[in-house]
Amino acid sequence: MTAAPAVEVAGLTKVFEKGRRTIWQRLRREPDKREKFVAVNAIDLRVERGEIFGVLGPNGAGKTTTLRMLATLLEPTSGDVRVLGLDVKTHPREIRANLGAMLSGERSLYWKLTARENLEYFAALYHVPPKETKPRIDAALVAVKLADRADDYVERYSTGMRQRLALARALLPDPPLVILDEPTVGLDPQAARDLRDRVRELKRQGRTVLLTTHYMEEADQLCDRIAIIDHGEIVALDTPAALKRRIRAEEVVTLEIGMAGEDAPMLARLANTAVIARSERHNGTLAVTAHCASARDFVPAAFDAARSEGATIQHVEVVPVSLEDVFISLTGRALRE
């Protein structure tokens, strides 16, 4: 018999109501007229054991809401969620006992305690047997490279150190599944790289990692598979390489074209040799993002087109296809918009 997937989600939906329904309205059984906001809309998801699975999307896309429902902190409006083969509705406590989670990062720690005191407390909350508490804490501190600062107060830590301590706490129950919500947000590049290394180490240990991020490079580098989420819906789900292949291009060319006339004829000419992913007009400049097989063929053609339209190409930038381009091609807008 094969083990159940780490996470299995079907038709998961979360609807929030805006505002409050007064006691008077409830007593009078008035209809609920509150505005509804669909944060997560009927998503299906399957995370296999041992993989690093990323949920990529802009702020407000529904990533954190999804994770909170998986972690039993938020009740789904509808849909089925099974974590490690257990139903979140009927076995929340068993799920929490086997789940390492880092949801609100550094704020989730006790700053007036030392790192070791924090971990001692959480080890007790996770029912770690007393005999195992010290070795597990020591191991967790070594794993996140905080062993030498274990007895310092957390308030004296940098943001990166606190994030690492939050990760150490998530490892205390020795969980087969670790979920991380925006683990590198707010970190400097070195600290972020360090934390990503720790995440890779979790995979080498055989754990499943489910993380959210809005950093496409992070998702690209870390994840075995990625679900791209927007407006509460999964718009694509595949390996990073397969997602990038979807847009049938090798390179992305960004052009800034100085022109006074209409956009349409210029864009039509450019579309003969590339796929126009995006165009935006700022006064006298038309910014175009094009997906093409080869910039060597497209850029000269773009200069020819500009000359024919009486326009001037002011700036050219060529980069390999990234997940950002995948996101743009799927949603028509950038991740950070």
Binding site: R68, R93, R96, A101, W111, L113, A124, H127
Partner: protein, 282 residues
Amino acid sequence: MNRTYLAGDLRALGAAGLMSWRQIRRYPALLFGTVFWPVLLPAVWVLMGQAYSGGGDPDALNAFATRAGTTGVTLFVFVGFLMYMWLSALLWGPGTALRQEQIRGSLEAVFLSPVSRLVPLFGPTLTNLLFIVADLIVMGIAVWLLFGVVLPLQGVLLAVAITIVGVPAMYAMGALFGAGVLRFGEIGPAVQFTRGGLSMLCGITFPIAMLPDWAQTSAAAMPPTHIVDAMRNALLKSAGPGDLVPAAASLIGLAFVFGGLAVVVFRWLEASARRSGMLGRY
């Protein structure tokens, strides 16, 4: 709940108390209040009472005894304020513990663990029990040094015993406010209102014989009334263990009533908080 979870939860309860103590220990100035308030607050009322009664006029004291059953005004007021401080600590305690977690951002991390919800609710407030004992000791020394009143040993032991019997009922009342924090966040005004109401109903600074009949009936349904009355009987009227049995029985009964209510309300409001996402907001 299986035995493994129960053992783990009990260890976690102790760990939560230790966590709270470790944070308090970083601010030793907080301990100053333990010495300051149990003396200053009741002393002001005792001096006022002495002034209003003409400095111990026998007629005035007899009039007081008719209503309170004792002429020991000093101890009467000090015991009342001991109850007031305990009431404040336990009504605020569980709610404040959750509220602090909520504001700090650690509540979700705690709720992500498999531990029983009762642990974050009551564990951090275990330190309050230390402060209650400290208040009792400080009060005993204060009435002896300032007013020459010596507490009888048996009375002190019985007062501690009735305190222990009253803990579940008092914590259950506190849990009701803790549940409110999960769903509504700030519940300070509700606690203030209740503490004020209970101070009035339970006779903190005056005998409840002064209250109208309907208020006295309501007072009988409140645990603090029985605790403060039993403590006064033990310390002021030389009541023995047998005399305190009715009060202890009432407290145990009320613990079941308030405890059951607290469990229902806590589950209901926690479920509501998990639906609305209030656990992560404040």
